[in-house]
Symmetry: none
């Protein structure tokens, strides 16, 4: 108990393995009967309780919750993690603790994700010919009314407006419909032809048909290619541009 309270005070990471029960109440409510699990309380006050299997914790609490640790009946280690907005509480009771430790993790490492949808967009903004030769950008993230935002807004070699919807992963029919909403919205606003292009690594089955039916085009754009376009810029740390 002292170990946990001390660790919480020093914003360490606490790991406890043992036999416990859990009760959660808040956005929903759940109950977990006795079993051996691993509890992790992180420096920001998030809580994770993991069973032996599964990517996701069986019970948890998001960052910034308050703790009350106590020993009940002289032997039951009780951890209460509460949170407001939304008001929810997690109560763990251990009757046996196999391992308990506190770690002061020193971590100044930098995390970098290479190809996100945002980065694909930036690559296309830098190199519009990825999508189509002769494409000229008009603006990015143009507001499209209540149908949301378009990813890229351009003009093709023939002077027609083009709406480009970008997806990082194989595009679904949903993406085609989203593109359709953008195009439809734009057509209502301007009295000239508007094309739609779905730019993604590939299309999921059925999406090609729907896209053809709606009258839009598909352009295969590989994340790798985008990454190569962005590479020289990220290497030179273009944060100065901003």
């Amino acid at each position: 108990m002292e170990l946990i309270n001390d660790a919480l005070a020093k914003q360490k990471v606490v790991i406890v393995a043992g036999n416990c029960t859990v009760d959660y109440e808040g956005r929903a409510a759940s109950k977990l009967t006795w079993g051996e699990r691993v509890l992790m309380i992180k420096a920001d006050g998030s809580v994770l309780l993991h069973r032996r299997s599964g990517y996701e914790p069986v019970n948890w609490q998001p960052p910034q919750c308050r703790f009350r640790v106590s020993i009940e009946d002289g032997k039951l280690l009780t951890v209460l993690a509460t949170r407001q907005k939304p008001n929810e509480s997690l109560r763990l009771v251990f009757d046996e603790v196999a391992v308990a430790m506190a770690l002061a993790l020193d971590d100044k490492g930098e995390f970098a994700m290479h190809v996100t949808e945002e980065q694909m967009k930036r690559a296309i903004l830098i190199e519009p010919s990825l999508v189509e030769p002769g494409l000229k950008l008009i603006s990015e993230e143009t507001k499209m009314g209540d149908s949301g935002f378009t990813d890229v807004y351009a003009e093709d070699a023939s002077g027609r407006l083009v709406v480009i919807e970008i997806k990082r992963t194989p595009a679904s029919r949903d993406a085609a419909l989203q593109l359709n909403r953008y195009v439809m919205t734009l057509r209502k606003r301007v009295n000239r032809p508007v094309r739609g292009i779905l730019a993604a690594p590939e299309l999921k089955s059925g999406t090609s048909v729907m896209l053809a039916k709606l009258g839009y085009d598909f352009k295969a754009v590989s994340p790798e290619r985008c990454f190569q376009i962005l590479k020289p810029r990220t290497d030179t740390r273009l944060s100065e541009f901003l």
Copy 2:
């Protein structure tokens, strides 16, 4: 290294804390420079790497991936977790290990998610026949004077007023008395018959007798049923289109 390989073979849960770097490549790609983190490999072959803060792991691998553990240059502990469909790989390199352990978690506990009283109320508001066929709602949370609030206020098939007290857990005599206060208050205000119904998963011992003595009804309402009614909820997207 032997500890990890042995633990993997025996489907234990492995926890390693130490200084490491991480490279991920697959659905996207990421790189994490040196820092102290906690690695957890679970019995089903899922991998979680946690930094000192944040609910989510900074890097991970979903269940059922393959491992290759080795010591490089005689001192760097390397863990390679690969997976196919989609093809992705996670590579961790530790140059220092503060803690390493393998846990054979014995967990036969049952996890149950149940709805809250508020959600049960919403389910009954959506589907009043959960309590009784022919029930018509009049209002929710009608003020009941100084005896508090009633959960649901309705009219039965015969036109009699009905006060419904909802409990998420087995209802006690207390709940019956609470219902009684609501009914009594209402009877003073309106000059017509008022019924009382206690809706809960079940009754605690003795409550049934008291309820009968007071002249009220009990209706078993399972949280699971309520949950199913609430499931296809909040389809506000469709309504926006119409």
